[in-house]
């Protein structure tokens, strides 16, 4: 048997299994090459923390990347870390911790929502889904932190783009295109991620008991201020019980504004913000670093939705539209909280049907925003659109999908039917 025949025979044997668990990028490439040849659709999995987000689709086999894990290179002074795509976020965060650095985009943790416990997932999953936490409006999203990647396209070819430097305009920026593509274009293998120093300290200004309109006014002042906030969130009264801190003594809705930096600067900026908001001493509290960290972890991890029974929608709209949109949404049985200074609405709905979802989507699209279904009853998934897309963008998406994955074998139908 020739060398090549031996390899083929080896692959063929392995090919009978329904779950592939590769450990090298060459194996990943080989598996996809085979699936390409044989027209076999693949479901791409990392640590499955966001598996339930997206459409249900038929796949014959699963590519499980949880065994493809490890830090390839970490250069704190160059502000990047290069990792294999199956590497757990937890591991990356703890490694960065040692050098007082962080992933500034604060990836959301969907574990509490889906399983009641933290499940941060893998870096590949975080990039593929591109959901960023509270610091988004200051520091950018996951897509802004992907400096370069290597991956395998739908033909099994190993491709790369970008690098490890922040300034790089060599060729199309595929890092952006692949971020948020839910594994439908390329299986990411190696990722170079930008990291940043952790701020020396942080504090959070809590404004007690604002109503929605007032909250949005406060956000407008805060985000237009030179105090440079790094988090601005509004929790209505019904979520208040999730936030028990020594320094929070009042009941009711709360706004949290995070300020980070050197300690004397943080104090100065919070003082300045209080003056700009024109609030009285009994209207606010300040969370020290320890409490502040917990507050924002709970927000990043969507802990108010722990083991949520109902449905969860993620809505992003221009903040100028938030008040009107919420008024319209109040026609439905909703609970919500606002992140990103009022631009991101996490919308909890006890019961939902196709018609309602369509109406809500219309409201959001009229406000020039978009809606992503994060959690919904499984049997509804077949009949609804999880993502928002217009016909022109659908057509372009179809062409781009084809350019990476001509036989539609990578997560086919995960984002849109037919793509």
């Amino acid at each position: 048997m020739s060398m090549e025949e031996k390899q083929n025979s080896q692959t063929f044997q392995d090919f009978n299994q329904s779950i592939f668990k590769p450990e090298t990028k060459e194996e990943i490439s080989e598996i996809i090459k085979n699936c390409y040849k044989k027209n076999i659709p693949l479901e791409i999995n990392g640590l499955q923390s966001k598996k339930r987000i997206g459409r249900n689709f038929q796949s014959e086999k699963t590519l499980d990347l949880s065994g493809y894990s490890g830090i390839i290179e970490y250069k704190p002074e160059e502000l990047y870390i290069k990792v294999k795509s199956g590497t757990p976020i937890k591991k990356i965060i703890s490694e960065l911790d040692k050098n007082n650095q962080q992933l500034a985009f604060e990836p959301n943790d969907f574990g509490f929502l889906f399983s009641g416990n933290s499940n941060e997932g893998s870096i590949g999953g975080v990039i593929a889904c591109n959901f960023a936490g509270p610091r988004r409006f200051k520091s950018g999203s996951a897509r802004d932190h992907l400096l370069g990647f290597q991956g395998v396209n739908g033909k099994g070819e190993i491709i790369k783009s970008g690098g490890t430097v922040v300034k790089n305009v060599t060729g199309y920026d595929l890092c952006k295109l692949l971020s948020g593509s839910f594994g439908t274009l390329t299986v990411l293998t190696e990722l170079s991620i930008k990291v940043l120093p952790k701020p020396e300290t942080n504090k959070t200004l809590i404004v007690n008991n604002p109503h929605l309109k007032k909250a949005l006014e406060y956000f407008d002042i805060t985000l237009s201020s030179s105090i440079d906030p790094s988090g601005a969130v509004f929790y209505p009264e019904y979520y208040r019980k999730n936030f028990t801190f020594n320094d929070l003594t009042q009941e009711g809705a709360i706004i949290g504004v995070r300020v980070e930096g050197p300690s004397n600067s943080v104090d100065h900026r919070i003082e300045k913000l209080c003056a700009e908001l024109d609030i009285l001493n009994n209207e606010f509290s300040i969370l020290n670093q320890e409490q502040s960290n917990i507050f924002w972890e709970k927000t990043r991890q969507l802990q108010v939705f722990t083991s949520l029974k109902g449905n969860l929608l993620r809505v992003v709209i221009p903040v100028s539209e938030t008040f009107e949109v919420i008024q319209k949404l109040k026609n439905y049985e909703i609970n919500y909280f606002l992140d990103w200074g009022g631009s991101l609405i996490w919308l909890q709905i006890e019961e939902i049907n196709t018609k309602m979802l369509k109406e809500i989507k219309n409201i959001i699209q009229a406000a020039t925003g978009y809606l992503t279904v994060i959690k919904i009853e499984e049997d509804m998934k077949a009949t609804i659109d999880i993502f928002t897309v217009n016909p022109i963008k659908y057509k372009i998406s179809e062409k781009i999908k084809k350019s990476f994955d001509p036989k539609r074998i990578l997560n086919p139908g995960k984002m849109y039917s037919g793509i």
Partner: protein, 498 residues
Amino acid sequence: MTSLQMPKVENSILSSREEIISDIEKIINPDNVLSHEDEIKPYETDALAAYRQTPLLVVLPETVDEVSKILKYCNENKIKVVPRGAGTGLSGGSLPLADCVLLAMGKFNKILELDYKNRCVVAQPCVTNLAITNAVQDKDFYYAPDPSSQIACSIGGNVAENSGGVHSLKYGTTTNNLLGIEVVLMDGTITRFGGKVMDSEGYDFLGLMTGSEGLLGVITEVTVKILKSPEVVKASLIGFPSIEDAGNCVAQIIAQGCIPAGMEIMDKALTKATNDYSKAGYPVNAEAMMIVEFDGTEHEVEAYMNKAKKIAENNNSSSLKISKTNEERLKFWAGRKAAFPACGVLAPDYMCMDGSIPRGKLAEVLNEITRLSKKYDLPVANAFHAGDGNLHPLIMFDANDKESLRKCEEFGADILRYCVKVGGALTGEHGVGIEKRELMCEAFNNNDIQQQLTIKAALDPNSLLNPGKVYPILRKCAEEGRVHVHGGKTKFPDIPRF
């Protein structure tokens, strides 16, 4: 300048010139169709002035609808189109082709909306970068990316090239500050990517278009986010006895958790040249000079500046001056920004390279450049955006001496190859264009390039939109790659650069 292969000229297009002109005159106001030699001559080059080619004709559309109709017409008739903004690009991205319609976007020059509620500005693509900041600065806002040509370069061009500036480490480049675009595809499809919100879901076409150098679509509207101006901005001027010391200082500043708004290093040759030119008060005896800028609140800037000062002292700094006033800070930068004209005084010609390298490799790369400078017997001066790793060596030569030009070209290509070798990139902010096209194979293999070409083919199957740019024709890897400035004069000699 040595010749560079461009896409094959279609004689059938050349011979139907009159017909094409008359057709397009039916689509848009005939006054906006330029065809006389004197009219089209000014469009024959961008700021990479070594390459010149007059187009078939120049059209100046006024509405997105006109852009769409022109593209649709050209697509149906297989006519190449080269889009052009302000024409300040340094890599030849808007170099016309003999058989192309040059789509000059100059009439798209209005700011459409200042939206403070959503903290963004909506502008037409030929509004200059600086005009955006000027429009919002009375409310103390600004647009962060600041390529040094910001007085003249267009915001649409910034999107096409993903322009940077000296503040990229802290504030990102265009792609990180862009919220939405309206774009017309080669088949005439008008569409919008993004809007006034962050992270539009689905495939990130906004990100794909940004930096695509006019190959995938024509940008007809841009929405950028604006930021509140920081309370305080201060810069310090630090001299070092060696490049290694300066490089170590950069690494330690970052390792200790400071993210400066800007951090620049110049070698001795450039420090002296710029100081002679602009009397900026630079430490001319230092082997390396660094400008470090912090912004934020008074306390924050003071804390970081003290930290940086200590780190500099630990790295043998020979001098240190902190700006006391904003005027003084601007004076620190004035010398740096005059690097082009300052070099023009030193030699008949110079070429500006644009590579990116890991910050920690600065000393190694500069040593290699010094070695190459001796090998080719051509002087070189170096400027370095140390914050983001963007290196700009300026090679001095005499274009009238063919041997000198040849050596300069080889020298430049060697530098870029070395940048790639140490883990950097061929271009940090000037774009590939035609200038670095043939070096793409240094950074990418066949699979990488084929994937990119397939994306191009998906959106422009006949390869009519800005063909011959970015990707090597027949993937021929030759030795090209630099900005050539003759007689110390760029196309726009008064514009500050990089």
